[in-house]
């Protein structure tokens, strides 16, 4: 083994450990937590003390708003494990506004939101869940009488950074699926150029969210992202390239039907429409609900839930390729292609017969030859 690969003994400063103990978090739990977060962020273990120190900072003010959402991402957050939602809400951040959990309601809730925006201007982290409808003058989504368009713009512009949770906020998601009845847009489309990190997924994987928050706390900035604004640590690889069934794909072992022997034995779901080859997400490695499972592990193909426009591009979900636009539901690319080839062959066969029977179409040189 290369000596560089031997991890340094990791030590978290005693006073940090003591502080957490006073808050009722055991040393072991705290160490475990810091290690897990560091791993999720794909950081070397030497970063553990830095992560630990960041945890100890003044709690980060966070505003969590929901627009055209189904609250699935809020729920996903409540299922977080490393750290848990309770630990985050009580110890890591100061959650100034979050409709699903907050005690205040009505104008007291609104007041908490706008007061936090003013008080922590340029310093708070904004989390947006759900897309933002631009149609009907903003009336497709209002909170406290104010349109999502207006409130989102204000909140984004005054935030230190924005995290979009879920595919709706990141890319428009289901409300923006054709024919997009409400003119739904993503956060990035609404406020281009803002400091945003997209955490698509339907819903977002809670571990990716907590890791992003901790990254922000640790380094004071958002993690490195790809061209679609997704952090590389979570979306830097294709499902297909990390899939536990990949060996079966390469071996040519596929489930032909749900429930057949191959599917029961964990063979590749490619022929059942799996979109793992088109989807960038870390589902196979971190899975869901504390690593319990993920779609392919449970026998269902990936539907590409973290890809932009997946409701239109990844459907039909049980076919590998999208429908050819303008053709019926049963018209696969192959059926159309085969039809095209057959029609070509038939047409040329007919043409050939006609041409062979054809008289008097020869070239002038032919005539010349016969005359000779």
């Amino acid at each position: 083994m290369n000596s560089e690969q031997i991890p340094e003994p990791i030590s978290i400063p005693e006073e940090i450990l003591q502080k957490w103990e006073a808050k009722g978090v055991s040393r072991r739990d705290f160490m475990k937590f810091c290690t897990a977060v560091t791993a999720t962020l794909a950081l070397p273990v030497s970063f553990i003390p830095q992560v630990a120190a960041a945890m100890d900072d003044q709690r980060l003010p966070v505003i969590w708003v929901e627009y055209q959402s189904c609250s699935g991402d809020s729920e996903a957050f409540l299922r977080a494990n490393q750290p848990t939602a309770a630990e985050i809400i009580l110890d890591v951040i100061s959650l100034e506004y979050a409709e699903v959990v907050m005690a205040a309601a009505g104008h007291q809730a609104e007041q908490a939101k706008w007061a936090a925006m003013e008080k922590y201007k340029g310093k708070y982290l904004l989390i947006v869940e759900g897309s933002i409808p631009t149609g009907a003058g903003g009336a497709y989504c209002t909170v406290g009488g104010e349109s999502a368009v207006d409130s989102a713009k204000k909140l984004i512009q005054n935030a230190a950074a924005t995290i979009t949770v879920g595919t709706c906020a990141s890319f428009g998601g289901i409300p923006a699926a054709a024919p997009n009845p409400t003119g739904a847009v993503s956060v990035r489309e609404l406020v281009p150029g803002a400091a945003i990190v997209n955490l698509p997924g339907c819903p977002v994987n809670a571990e990716n969210l907590t890791a992003t928050i901790v990254h922000f706390l640790t380094f004071g900035k958002l993690p490195a992202v790809d061209a679609l604004g997704r952090p590389k640590f979570a979306y830097g690889k294709r499902i297909h390239d990390n899939c536990e069934r990949r060996a079966h794909f390469d071996a040519g072992q596929y489930a032909e039907d749900f429930g057949d022997a191959a599917q029961r034995q964990g063979h590749c779901l490619y022929k059942l429409g799996c979109k793992g080859p088109e989807t960038f997400h870390n589902c196979p490695t971190i899975r869901y609900n504390e690593g319990t499972s993920w779609p392919i592990m449970a026998g269902h193909g990936c539907i590409g839930c973290s890809e932009p426009g997946f409701w239109d591009t990844m459907t039909p979900f049980y076919r590998r390729l999208p429908q050819v636009p303008g053709f019926g539901i049963e018209a696969t690319a192959d059926k159309i292609g085969l039809g095209l080839v057959a029609a070509t062959a038939a047409a040329f066969a007919a043409h050939g017969i006609a041409s062979a029977c054809r008289k008097g179409d020869a070239m002038e040189s032919d005539k010349l030859k016969r005359e000779e």
């Binding site: 009722g24 959402s69 699903v100 907050m102 104010e146 993920w294 449970a298 979900f317 049963e330």
Partner: protein
Amino acid sequence: MSKRIAVDPITRIEGHLRIEAQIEGGKITNAWSSSTAFRGIEAILKGRDPRDAHHFTQRFCGVCTTVHSMASIRAVEDALKIQIPDNARLIRNLIMGIQNVQDHVIHFYHLHALDWVDIVSALSADPAKTSQLAQSISDWPKSSTTYFKAVQGRIQAFVNTGRLGPFQNAYWGHSAYRLPAEANLMAVAHYLEALEWQKEVIKIHAILGSKNPHPQTFLVGGMAIPVDPDSQNALNADKIAYIGKLLKQARLFVEQVYIPDLLAVASFYKDWAAIGGGVGNYLSYGDFPMDNSGSVSSLYFPRGIIMGKDLANLMTVDESKITEYVTNSWYSYAGGDNKGLHPYDGETTPNYNGPKPPYEFLDTNGKYSWVKSPRYNDQPMEVGPLARILVAYVGGNPDVKGVVDFVLGKLGVGAGALFSTLGRTAARGVDALIMARKNEVWLQQLADNMGRGIYETFNKEKWDPATWPKEARGFGFHEAPRGALGHWIRIENQKIANYQAVVPSTWNAGPRDPKGQLGPYESALVGTPIADEQKPLEILRTIHSFDPCLACAVH
């Protein structure tokens, strides 16, 4: 003097709900329920593959996740006349069952409790007395003085930071809070425990369906999760055992924490058994098939209707009597807005004509909500655990009867107390308990099937659209946590020609109909006392007792 107030957003619910109320003499005299968000998923579904629909509909809601997948595949299976294998039925029952249990517990502790529990007052509780209280009502092991002291210390440390985060600006100290400090501390401890518990027990969804929220395992014709004791990639003995462990954990928490807490809290708020009754008509579709016949009689929770709080007269449900109105909703119907449409012919054409945002009040004389107004036989109906439990109670489900009688006896109230805000909250607990116990039975049956070599989870006969008729239509019913859920689908040329969902919260949160009949929320609010119109805690109590979900209601 009469005053109009608006509570927007209603928090600790799912989605965007706005309540406007007219208050006179310390009481609500009129109320309007509105949802202020619309996505249009019914319109988005048109023209798509019916087998894909459940993925879309599941995204109606991430809180009652799974329920719209269930209703959707049932609708398609009804349209195409597909029978599912026994294992698929059991797996579905388990997924729905644990969904109900987990959703109810989250509702009670995280969405509803703060209407009754004053967290701030928990700081002044005596941990020793709290321990005594806890031990007097339950055998739950986490009940020592040291334990409650630690919880109190944690809350104290949190409060000491001076930043209350999600607990700021609430109605703490409101005169309507009545629990002793010790009960409050116990509730806070259980608030935190429930937060931990819910993420554990819902791993059942992950085992059976990859993840929660939004499990990905449903199929038209069965389930994607394979069953095979000889495979490491299927439900095998190991996974069954894991589910069994989680189910036990779920049941113990309901039996030893949720139900005792519910009874303890309710005993301080018995006056709420006379508040918030509402329309008094109850609809339950019934659910949890006990065999694969598809018949109504196979349902563990029976299907039925109770009109005008008349428990002596249980009526059958006639699906054709369901209609939706948009007279007061921001939609238009091609044939005129005052006509009710049956869901097969339902339309979702947005037509916003309300005030331009930002606004202070809605114009409640016209259209004022994105929720439609469903009616049964032109009557508004309340749906939810209360309706489900009432119908099962009079419909002769012995398990339900036993638990309801036990709860009523403990509280020393008659069945009439159920028609109330408190009744709704209590019925939810009853529902959770029944489900928590029943789940273990279904798991055992699934294991028995596996033992007998029955592995089938999917019926592929009608999977290929080429096998479908040119035209078909069907509906799917489901008792979601929040009540009677129905999806209706029309299939033409292998595509969705029309798709309509009438959702529990649509029934409950809908606005007035053309006859001016109030929806269940509105009706339940009328007559509710309001001690302080700046802090309308009482509105939250009654509205939360329905467990609103507006993303569901509007979709």
